[in-house]
Amino acid sequence: MADLFPDSLANRLGPLKIVSRSRYLGHHKGTHRSTKTGTSLEFSDFREYHPGDDLRHIDWNVYARTDKPFIKQFLDEQEMRIHILLDGTKSMGFEQKWEFARQLAIGIGQIGLKSGDTVTFSSKNEQQEYFFRRKGALQRAALKKFITQIDQPTLPGDFTDYALRHIPKAVTVLFIITDGLEPLEKWERLFKRLPGICRDCRVITVHDPFEEEPQLQGDIRLLDIETQQAVEVTMTTRSKQLYMDRKSEHESKFLSLAKKYGIQTVRAEVAEGTLNTVTKKMRHVGWVR
């Protein structure tokens, strides 16, 4: 089996960092400057000394000039908690979607680990639940290995039904990688509750080129991978157009729904490749830098 996430790709993504405006950061020391004062090298502010303050923080130069003791304050550097939730329903296994989705997950996860953040990853298969929690750049290989081993998405049922249960508490940034092929009502139910769990939710929708424009001819009995429901369709330009109209309608509604609940979305297409998606699209919307 070819390497799912080659090192060259990892290297290209290396310099990137995940950006979040979320004020909620982890308690551990990290690389992200917090708005709180802390122990980083970044200068934040001066303030007058009050008894009880640490004497070591008195800026003596300022005291020399002003004859008043001032405390020199620095910004704190804290970690972010990044959670990646991968949709493990069967529809994700269509064509190259699964491979692509896992690459994205690994990519995001490695970016997070490299900047010293805590990265959690969860997905669910028919047989077992996958959960990964590590911190630190050294854990990148472990993350890659962990995600690579999830061979096929075999989860029956809807992703939106189980998603909430697999998001850990106190998450700074939540990445949801899904294909969005579920009824909008279900998505709405999920989106309604997401802001309560995490302030910074990001949904990456994965699309296969076949789904974008099905190359089908004649009479096709379309079988839903998930529900096994069959739909017999005679492929005509008209029926295809109808399909695409439906699909784009669904997507635009999905987007507006996400926007309504303050959830950011990125549309990732298999054809564009992982690198482009991360370095261009995500950067463009300001998820990474």
Partner: protein, 588 residues
């Protein structure tokens, strides 16, 4: 239902081709996709229920199939057999008995039936029609006639024969005419019981056209008269078959001259009977009873009687050989054995006396038959029997009879048969027949001429009078004609010619009741024709039909094409197909 162009069934390949086309066309290629969310939604518009969906998806196919099959059906030329099946035999069995003359408002049942027949013939134009009239001898008036004019003319000529319908016999005759074919039989009568058809064959449908109205009738049930020393006594039995009390007048007329002799009034209760006797009538040969009453059946309001020396039975001397009685029985006469004393009491009655008592030749008014003699002894003879061509031997020659011995002859009598020179059979002036041998002395009983001789004797003794007997209408009955006959002619009392017969054996009585004259070589005798008892009662009942639509019978049936009925649905189907195609769009 059948098809007239079965050859066109080759066109079945067209619908089959379409069927095959659909077999190939609608083979769906299964393709798994991530979600049918959008496809499903796109199909939901046309999806109602699984069954309907299936129907909708295949609507075009079903419509095309239906149109093609219907076209095929039309090409096959469907037809239904029409109700008036052409070629099916139609048989009219027409009751021509006297009771058919009854009827209301001047129209007899017979006339009504004739109209019905005419109507039926018009309704069944082109069908072969057979007409059979009833009677002792059912008559085939028409056989498989299709010409309308001939049929109508024949129906017009049908007339009442007064003869009892003998429906059972007629139906048997009809069945022999039908043979194994199927037929529709219309029976025109006054009343016919369903039990007649209990053994009906399936191939025959019966329509019984009966007289449904209960007609009032008063009839002369019996009319009898006897000669007495003072003249004639007559008795009439009247029967009222109506449900009302009836008044009327009964007249007794001289049948020959038509003069009224006496009349009496009577009143009868409903369903009642009455006996009216007339005494002290003048001596007459023929009497007529005439009933003047208001009823709806005239034919039985007249009765005739001849007062003659009619011979009705025979009395054979108990001493004579038993085979003589057997011979009389064989010719259909009532015969009794009697002693001499008993015979003496019957001397002046209508009974033929057969004896060997020679004293009877001198006693009594009527001639007798004497076989053997009790006052003499026989002597042996040998030789062949020869006759002089007397009427007695006209139908039964006795040449081959062997006679062993004979009694001595009577001198004053004519010899009509002899052996050698010795008389064998003699006839007296009075008409007595004398056989000069006992039956034991001959081998006569072994010959067919034996009973025929007795029949001839009976007829001969009877013809001594001027009364020829009583007949029922159209009765076929041999009468004894003379050797020198030139044929028998029949005239009615107005001396109008009725019929003639070459010999007595061909004689058939006239149809209409009444008194007739028979003239045979200038000798005149009278006969009376009387209605049968059955014809004096009127029947009525409902019309009905029996035996419908025989099955399993090959029938030539009329074909009524019904193909055109299916053309409109085909057009409709094509329009629907076009519409479905238009809405669904052409598949690429």
């Amino acid at each position: 239902m059948g098809f007239s162009h079965v050859v066109n069934s080759w066109t079945v390949i067209f619908p089959l081709a379409v069927l095959l086309y659909y077999f190939f066309r609608k083979r769906y290629e299964t393709r798994a996709i991530s979600s049918t969310l959008f496809w499903e939604q796109s199909m939901r518009e046309t999806k109602a229920s699984p069954f309907l969906k299936n129907l909708q998806q295949n609507a075009l196919f079903y419509l095309q199939m239906a149109a093609l099959l219907l076209l095929l059906f039309v090409l096959l030329g469907p037809f239904v057999k029409s109700e008036q099946a052409a070629g099916r035999q139609i048989i009219f069995v027409v009751d021509t008995s006297a009771s058919m003359l009854a009827g209301e408002d001047g129209a007899s049942i017979f006339d009504v039936n004739k109209q019905e027949m005419t109507q039926l013939v018009e309704d069944n134009k082109g069908n072969a029609i057979t007409i059979i009239t009833t009677g002792k001898e059912p008559d085939l008036v028409l056989r498989d006639e299709t010409n309308q004019e001939v049929i109508q003319a024949s129906i017009g000529k049908l007339s009442v024969t007064y003869d009892h319908e003998n429906m059972g016999k007629t139906l048997e005759f009809m069945k022999s005419v039908v043979a194994d074919q199927s037929a529709t039989v219309h029976i025109f009568t006054d009343y016919l019981d369903r039990s007649v058809f209990s053994d009906g064959t399936e191939a025959i449908d019966y329509y019984v056209h009966a007289s449904e109205s209960n007609l009032a009738n008063v009839s002369i049930d019996k009319f009898g008269a006897v000669k007495t020393s003072g003249g004639t006594e007559a008795i009439v039995k009247l029967v009222n078959q109506s449900e009302k009390e009836v008044d009327g007048i009964i007249q007794i007329l001289d049948a020959l001259k038509g003069e009224k002799l006496e009349e009496k009034k009577f009143t009868m209760k409903d369903e009642g009977e009455t006996l009216i006797s007339f005494k002290d009538l003048p001596s007459q040969i023929a009497l007529q009873a005439q009933l003047l009453v208001e009823d709806q059946y005239d034919a039985d309001n007249e009765a005739f009687i001849l007062l003659g020396d009619e011979i009705s039975d025979a009395m054979v001397d108990s001493q004579l050989h038993e085979l003589i009685r057997k011979a009389f029985q064989a010719i259909g006469m009532d015969v009794t054995a009697g002693s001499i004393n008993e015979m003496k009491q019957r001397q002046n009655t209508a009974t033929i006396l057969v004896s060997n008592e020679t004293s009877f030749l001198q006693e009594g008014e009527h001639p007798i038959l004497l076989i053997g003699r009790n006052d003499a002894n026989a002597h042996p003879v040998s030789g062949v029997v020869e006759d002089n061509g007397d009427v007695l031997f006209s139908i039964a020659p006795i040449h081959d009879v062997y006679v062993s011995s004979l009694y001595p002859p009577f001198e004053e009598m004519d010899t009509i048969a002899s052996i050698g020179n010795e008389p064998f059979i003699q006839r007296s002036k009075r008409g007595d027949i004398v056989v000069l041998a006992d039956i034991e002395m001959t081998d006569w009983p072994l010959h067919p001429s034996f009973p025929l001789f007795f029949w001839s004797v009976t007829e001969s003794l009877r013809s001594g009078s001027s009364v020829g007997g009583t007949f029922s209408p159209s009765q076929r009955k041999a009468i004894l004609s003379y050797v020198d006959t030139k044929g028998i002619e029949v005239f009615n009392l107005k001396d109008e010619y009725e019929a003639s017969f070459a010999s007595g054996t061909d004689f058939v009585a006239p149809q209409k009741p009444g008194i007739y004259k028979l003239i045979d070589n200038k000798r005149e005798s009278l006969i009376s024709v009387q209605l049968e008892q059955e014809e004096k009662r009127l029947g009525h009942g409902t019309s009905y039909k029996i035996g419908m639509e025989s099955k399993g019978n090959e029938k030539e049936v009329g074909q009524k094409s019904i193909g055109w009925i299916f053309l409109l649905p085909i057009l409709l189907l094509l329009v629907m197909e076009w519409e479905v195609q238009r809405r669904r769009g052409y598949s690429n």
